[in-house]
Amino acid sequence: MNKTVIKALIPLLLFLTLVYLLYQGLGKDTRLLPSALINKPAPEFALPSLMNGKIIDNNALKGKMYLLNVWASWCPNCRVEHPMVTEFARQNIIPVYGLNYKDENATAKAWLNQFGNPYTDILVDDKGLVGIDFGVYGAPETFLVDGNGIIRHKIVGELNPQNIQNELLPLIEKYKNTVKN
């Protein structure tokens, strides 16, 4: 190849690089952010239960793998995912805890009365401060915490058959034996 041909190819190469880079961004949901807490210990919390006001903290939940589902009665997508949460909890694979995020106790209870309560227990985070510790930026969000209190996965947005099947179940299988007690 002579020099002129190589020179002529440079703009084409630059163009193709640009196309490649732009293509990478196509179809990507920019609202989905990776969690900074994956494979890190769940932040410490001590919150009252929506049911009886008793304080639930990390230690109370240690030793067993659980799902922490961030929801609120003001959140329309929480209603959408509610049947999935209910179905998942019904299968009794791991307990599902709710984190009632920036909600009013009365409306939260009314919501549960209307749609049913799938949760083993519900933590009340009315100020959203534990939400900040967990890096929550919307509802619904769901965290998988293993028996050692390590966050193993986070789902932003609704639970659905796909992410339960492809993301949650394999990880539950993988980490179910990490529980020491």
């Binding site: 990776p34 900074a36 100020k127």
Partner: protein, 143 residues
């Protein structure tokens, strides 16, 4: 309009502007020192709102942005440094929360690219100029 009326109008307008300013400052935080106030201002302008991603938390009306502003104010009042506060939020929300990305092995391309492009462009410009001047010289000597 007479001069006097004009003056009163001005006064009214200025008052309205001042009132508007206080109305828009929704959350009021008390800081002990001017430095704390500046820290708070700088931080909230450099932290990205995660809900409306193209706004910083100072500008955003989202509920989460307000919570984060409160958290930042609280930490500033506790005399935490700017980098401590940024680290606190990066721990929770990842680097995405920063508008000012850190220089690290995986972000080096981001930082080096502008310099690289500048160098290449400069190289091309200088070469072209040199070429042109030499060709003019040759032309002159030819004639």
């Amino acid at each position: 309009m007479t001069r006097v009326q004009n003056k009163t109008m001005k006064k009214i307008i200025i008052t309205l502007i001042l009132i508007a300013n206080t109305v828009f400052a929704i959350d009021i935080h008390e800081f002990k020192t001017e430095q704390q106030r500046l820290d708070y201002q700088q931080l909230t302008e450099e932290l990205r709102c995660l809900v409306c991603q193209n706004q910083n938390i100072a500008d955003s009306d989202a509920g989460l942005a307000k919570d984060l502003r409160n958290e930042v104010a609280k930490m500033v009042q506790q005399d935490m440094s700017q980098s401590e506060i940024t680290d606190y939020l990066v721990e929770r929300y990842g680097d995405f929360v920063r508008y000012n990305p850190p220089m690290r092995a995986d972000t080096i391309v981001l930082w080096a690219m502008p310099l690289l492009v500048l160098l290449i462009a400069g190289f091309i410009v200088i070469r072209t100029i040199k070429k042109n001047t030499t060709s003019t010289h040759t032309n002159e000597s030819d004639s």
